[in-house]
Structure formats: C-alpha cells, structure tokens
C-alpha cells in the first residue's frame, strides 16, 4: 500500500495547478475547470486520510463536495452562457463592469 504522503503530495500538486489555473487563465471555462481541479484535489486528501485513519467521515464529506460541485457547475455554466450571450466573450478580464 502506498504511503499517505504520496496522496497528499499529488493532491497538493493538483491543488497548486488548479490555483494557478484560476489565477492565470483568462478563459472562464478553463478557470472553471481549474476550480474543479482544486475541489478534486481536496477530495483526494479527504479520501486518502479517511483510508489512512480508517474513518468514514472523510469519504462522506467527499460525497458532499461532489454534490456541491455538481450544483456549482450547473450554476456556473449557466452564468458563463449568459455572459457569453451579452458579451460575446468568455474572457474574464473583459468582464469588469463592477470596477469601482
């Protein structure tokens, strides 16, 4: 069985990749996918530690996260579609109407 820090390291790499994606990429859909990546990095850690500690709470939490992520994807994609319809673009840098 693989030691748990392998999973933690993989999860950290995935989380960092997701974070960088959110911060760097301009395409809203890619940003969205990066957010999913971060969520799943968290899920991986949950599962890994659930298994490591032989506790079920982590696995249950993963289900919650997946549920919320599914709902979020639905709302988020709907928003992106709506933005695209008005702006003809999904570049997040062009969506700055709330600038103070």
């Amino acid at each position: 069985m693989l030691p748990v820090y392998y999973y933690v390291a993989l999860s950290a790499i995935l989380f960092i990749i997701g974070t960088l994606g959110v911060l760097i990429r301009r395409n809203a859909i890619v940003v969205f996918m990066s957010v999913e990546l971060m969520l799943n990095a968290a899920n991986l850690v949950f599962v890994a530690f659930a298994r490591y500690y032989q506790a079920m709470e982590g696995q249950i939490f993963v289900f919650f996260v997946m549920t919320v992520a599914a709902a979020e994807v639905a709302v988020g994609l709907a928003l992106i579609v709506a933005i695209f319809r008005t702006k003809q673009s999904i570049n997040v840098d062009q969506i700055n109407t709330l600038k103070g």
Binding site: L23, R26, V92, D93, K99, G100
Partner: protein, 717 residues
C-alpha cells in the same frame, strides 16, 4: 395709643385728620370741577378749606386746655418693614397746634386776600385761566404744611417738608413764562428747589442716623432715648443735629443756603406772604424746636445753630438796607428774622423762637400782603395813566415801568390810606416798637441771648438796629414825600377783599405780642407742656433786679432805643437829605441818599455782597464746567465715542470676526469639510482595490488563505 383710647380722652382730638383732609378736599374740588366754576366759586372753595382747618385747629386748641400733654392720634399703618413700624399718626400737642393755628389762620387770611389779588394778577399777566391753578397749589400747600406740623415722626414730617418745597417750587414758577428772558421765574423756582435739595440731604442723613441709633423715627421715642444714646455715642447726636442744621439752613433760608429766598419773590405776592414769609420757611425753626431734646444734649451744635442764625440775621438785615425792590427788602428782612428765630431755638430759647415765629407770621404776612397791595395800586395807577392821553405824555418810559421799585413810589399815604396804616403797623411791629407784637417776641429772644450767648446777642441787636432802619427807609420811600412817578401819583387803593385781611392781620400784629406778656407768660406755659426745659426755669429764678416779670428792662430799653434811633436816621436821610439832594442836577443826583454817604459800601449792599455772583463763580460755574466736561468729554467722547463705539462695538466686531473666521469657518467648517474630504480620499484609495477583475479577487482570496493558513501553521507549531 389706639383710636378708641383717643376717643376716651375726650375733646376733639379724633378730628385731627380733618385738618389735612379739608385742604385736600378743597384742592380736589377745584382741580376736578373747577373748570366749570366761576372765579368767585373757586375762591370760596379755596378759602373755606383752610378756614375749616382753622376751626378744627381752634377746637384742638380748646381740647388741649383739658389735656395739655397732648395725644397721638393714629390714622393708618403707613410703613411696615422689618423692625420699622411707622404708622401715619397725628401728633397733637401745644407745639403742633400752635403751628396749625398759625398756618391755617394766617393761611386763610392770605387765601381771602389772594381771591382779590389774583383776580387782578391773572389779568395783569394775561392768563385768567391760571386762577384755578393758583388756588389748587395754595390748598395743596396748606395740606402739606399741616402734614409737616402734625407729624408724629421725622419721616412723616419729611413728607410735609418735601410737599411744601414742591408747592414753593410750583408757586415761585407760577408765571413760569415770565421774568428775565421769559424763563426768569422758572429759573428762580428751580434755584429754590435745588437749594432746598441740598438742605434736604442734610435732613435725610440726620433721619437715617436717627433710625440707625434710635431704631425709630418717632418723636416720643427719640425724646425718651436721647440721653441714653448721647451717653453711648455723643458724636452721633452732634452729627445728627448738625446735619439737621443743614436742612434748616435750606428750608429756613439761613447762611449759606439763603440765596433762593430773595429769588422766590418771583412768585405772586400772596405766595411770598404765605410760603416765603409766614409758614414754610419757619419749618426749619419748628424742626429744631421739635428736636429740642437732641439739641439740648450737644451745646456745640446749639452754639453752631445760634451763630448761623445770628450771622444770618445781621447779614441779611444789612443787605435789606441796599435794596430797591419793595419785595426784596421784605425778603431779606424775612431771612434776617428767620435768623432771629433760628438763633433763638439754637441757643435753647425754644419758646422765644416759637413766639417770634408766630408774631413774625402775623406782621410779615401783613407786610408782604400790603406790599402786594402797593404793587397793584401802582399797576392800577399805571393802567390809568396809560389810558389817559393827557397823563400819558408824562410817563418817562412807556414799557419799563417797574411797579415793585421803591424809587418809583412815594406819597402813597394819601392815595392808599388803609394800606398805608396797616403797612405802618407791620413795619413798626417788625422794627420792634413797643407795644407791638415784634417788640415782645424780639425782646424775649434778645433777653435770652444775653445770658445764653452774648456774641449772638450783639449780632442780633445790631441786626435789630438795621431792621428798624430799613423798615423806616421803606416806609418813607413808599408812602412819604412826593410821588416819584406818574403811576404812583395815580395809584388806587385795593378792593375790600384785599384790605380786610390786611386789617385783621394788622390787629394781630398789634396785639399778637400779648400772648406772652411779662408776669403772665401764657405762651411759655402753653408750650411748656411740650418742651420741658428745666434749666430755663432755673435761670429764671436767678434774676437780677432789672428783670421785671421775665422782661429784661435793659435789653428792652437798648433794643427799643436803637430802633428809634434807626428810624430817626432813616427819617433824616430820606426826608431831609433827600430834599437837599433835589437841588443837585438830576443826572448827578444819587438814586438813594444813602449812596451819597456810604458810596461804594452801598453798592456792596445793593449787590447783596455779590453772594449770588460768588456762588456762581465758586459753585455753579465750576459745577456747570464739570458737568459739561463729564457730559461732553467723559460721557460723550470717552464713554460713547471711545468706549462704546470703539471698545465695545470694536471688541464685539472683533469677537464676531474671531468666532466667524478662525473658529467657525476655519476650525469647525474645517472639521466637517475635512471629514467629508477624508472619506472621499479614503474611498478614492479604496476604489482602486475594486478593479473588477475576477482574477485579482481570486488572488486576494488566495493570498488571504495563504496568510491565514501560514499563520495557523506557525501558530500550531
């Protein structure tokens, strides 16, 4: 004493408030309804009022025979302030009733005379509507004088004291639009009032001292407590009496405050007779007699009073010699005679002073009224001359005929027989010729003075000599010789309404002295019930042989002899010498034979020792200068222009500027504006964070998370 007790004493004492009430009623009737009355009715109302007061005074006098110690009749509560309880109460004793009798008796006669006199006077001066006003003032005067003499405390006396002063002022200025420059009479009234005010200041200080040390204004309380207070604080009694003396010099026209009385002759002649000769001016004498219990305790004050009186008597008598105005002579004579009275009460001869007060009221009222009769006789003569084309040509100057100048008179004894005889009686009584009233009273003063105060005796004796001289001079100038002007040759006798009171007063002047004859001393015994003096009785016991029944024969002989000599000298100068002077060319002839003999000294007398001018130079002008300085420099220039305009207004403006500019605009507005601006600037800074770029927000969140986690991680370690 309560009213019920007064009633139980018997007599008519409880009627005493009516002596004030009647004149007040008279004046109110004339004041309210007089506009519709005829002159005759006004005159009747005005004469009946003091007449009824006189009847009451007589009733009170009769009641006093049974109760000579007198009573106090309470009337109303007047002042209640802390420990001061002052009822308005009437003091009925022999002293006050004597004054009431004189005031109402002589007053009534003068009212009757005034009915005739004012009838002509208002027409002569051209305003008949003032007839009523005159009698309203006259009745008010009687009422005030009654309050003065019937008071049972010094404060009530002061009410009367001020009231008569007011009437005096109103009546001196009765023809306020006449006189020198059209304001002369008003100025004279003002002078009298202001001069009296100086005296009143003294009276008030004395009254305050009394209240402070006696805790009362009441005469009886002060009489009772006086020895006790004198033992504890002798200086207080001295101060009190000397301040009171200042009041006396004001009201009774003594040195140095006598200057108002000659000017007071600007009033109609009945005013001069009643107020400025017979009654009001004697208030000072009455006051000293009332306060005898204080004066006998301080011989020093007595001495001062006596000397003031004596010097005034002589001083005024000499001035009277040099006067040409018939009323001015009598005015200075009044000052002189008041000096006699003040000297008498000052040296402790209270009865003699009061005696002279009474007789003087008779003959001086008589003299003034007769002088009024002479003046109007001349005015009638002048009127007759002016309306007669033949005689008119003989008038020296048409406009400047002075009916009061004795140089315009002469020979009137044939034209005005009644006036002449009564005038002669008055003059002889004043000169102190036996057996007229003035002889007895003046002799009594002189006899007392001889053993009480020899210096004053000599002053008064010389004054008596001058008195006889100026009266002789006046009688001869007015009634003897040839008429010196056409109006005087045409003068007409006054109507009966004027001469009847004159005859009555002449009768009183003839027999008035018999009130206090030697051996009998009715008046002395009458007043003894009020003025208790042990020492005078003691002195009377040790009498030398030439004193017979209280009459000092030597003193009487000297004064009578001097009076006769003075009259003889006057006769020589004004008949013989005046006749000699007729030979001198008219332009070199002196207007008075005495001027030829005395030369410049006569001018000094004629100008009254320049006392008025000295007062102007020493008091009035500096006072006016100070007033002017205070008004123009201190008040206007300093207070108004500098202090108010510059300092207060400038300071206010400065303060307003300070409040508005640095404090309000800069500081308070600065806070408010700065607050707003700060918020704006802060917002401007903050809005830059709100870039609108999602990735920026995400970065912020990320950094925040890193920081928090970093912190937690470090914390956990």
């Amino acid at each position: 004493m309560f009213l019920s007790e007064v009633a139980s004493v018997g007599g008519y004492f409880y009627l005493v408030p009516l002596v004030v009430f009647f004149p007040v009623a008279g004046l109110l009737i004339n004041l309210i309804f007089g506009g519709k009355f005829s002159e005759k009715l006004i005159g009747w109302v005005a004469c009946v009022a003091p007449g009824l007061s006189f009847v009451l005074a007589v009733l009170l006098g009769i009641s006093l025979v049974g109760h000579p110690e007198g009573v106090t009749v309470p009337f109303v509560d007047w002042i209640k302030l802390g420990e001061l309880e002052l009822p308005w109460a009437f003091r009925v004793d022999t002293l006050s009733v004597t004054m009431m009798l004189v005031v109402s008796g002589v007053g009534t006669l003068i009212h009757i005379y005034a009915v005739g006199y004012m009838h002509e006077d208002v027409r002569h001066n051209g305003d008949p509507s003032r007839y009523r006003r005159f009698f309203v003032f006259f009745n008010l005067f009687i009422a005030m004088m009654m309050i003065l003499v019937s008071a049972d405390n010094y404060l009530m006396l002061f009410v009367g004291w001020e009231g008569v002063g007011l009437c005096s002022y109103l009546l001196i200025g009765f023809w306020y639009d006449k006189g020198k420059d059209g304001i002369g009479n008003a100025v004279a009234g003002k002078k009298a009032f202001i001069t009296n005010r100086i005296g009143d200041f003294g009276f008030l200080i004395a009254a305050f001292l009394m209240f402070w040390y006696f805790k009362s204004f009441n005469f009886d309380v002060i009489v009772a407590k006086a020895p006790e207070v004198a033992a504890a604080a002798p200086g207080v009694i001295l101060a009190m009496t000397l301040f009171m003396l200042l009041g006396v010099t004001g009201k009774s026209a003594q040195l140095p405050l006598f200057v108002w009385l000659p000017d007071a002759m600007a009033g109609p002649t009945p005013v001069s007779a009643l107020i400025h000769a017979a009654t009001m001016v004697t208030a000072g004498v009455y006051l000293v007699a009332r306060s005898y219990s204080l004066y006998v305790l301080v011989p020093q004050a007595q001495n001062w009073v006596a000397i003031v009186g004596g010097v005034t008597a002589l001083f005024a008598a000499t001035i009277a010699v040099g006067q040409f105005d018939i009323k001015k002579v009598l005015a200075y004579s009044t000052i002189s005679q008041l000096g006699f009275m003040v000297a008498a009460v000052g040296m402790g001869a209270f009865v003699a002073g009061m005696f002279h007060l009474v007789t003087h009221a008779f003959f001086k009222a008589l003299l003034f009224l007769s002088a009024g009769s002479v003046i109007q006789g001349l005015e009638r003569g002048h009127h007759a001359v002016e309306h007669d084309p033949l005689l008119r040509k003989r008038l020296k100057s048409e406009h400047h005929f002075d009916p009061q100048d004795m140089r315009n008179m002469g020979g009137l004894r044939n034209r005005m027989k009644t006036t002449f005889w009564v005038y002669l009686i008055g003059a002889l009584a004043l000169a102190g010729i036996f057996p007229l009233a003035g002889f007895w009273s003046k002799d009594e003063i002189l006899a007392e003075a001889l053993h009480l105060n020899p210096l004053v005796y000599w002053l008064l004796t010389i004054a008596a000599f001058f008195t006889a001289f100026y009266m002789g001079r006046q009688i001869i100038m007015v009634f003897f010789g040839e008429p010196k002007s056409e109006p005087s040759a045409q003068a007409q006798e006054s109507p009966a309404v004027m001469t009847t009171p004159l005859v009555v007063l002449a009768g009183l002047s003839l027999v008035g002295g018999f009130m206090n004859l030697p051996f009998i001393h009715t008046f002395t015994h009458w007043l003894e019930h009020t003025i208790h003096l042990e020492e005078v009785e003691a002195a009377a016991e040790a009498t030398p042989s030439y004193v017979v029944g209280g009459l000092n024969l030597i003193v009487a002989g000297i004064s009578l002899g001097l009076a006769l000599i003075a009259i003889a000298i006057a006769y020589y100068f004004y008949t013989r010498r005046a006749a000699d002077l007729q030979k001198v060319p008219a332009n070199k002839r002196p207007d008075d034979p005495l001027r030829g003999v005395l030369g410049p000294a006569f001018s000094v007398l004629e100008h009254k020792y320049w006392v008025d001018e000295i007062y102007w130079a020493v008091i009035v002008n500096p006072y006016v200068a100070i007033s002017r300085f205070l008004a123009e420099k201190v008040d206007w220039a300093f207070w108004h222009d500098f202090f108010h305009e510059k300092i207060i207004v400038g300071g206010y403006n400065g303060l307003v500027w300070l409040l508005s500019k640095p404090i309000d605009t800069s500081f308070i507005d600065g806070i408010a504006n700065g607050l707003g601006q700060g918020v704006q600037e802060l917002a401007a800074a903050m809005r830059k964070i709100q870039s609108g770029f999602v990735r920026n927000y995400a970065l912020s969140v990320f950094i925040g998370v890193v920081v928090i986690i970093g912190y937690l991680v470090l914390q956990l370690r």
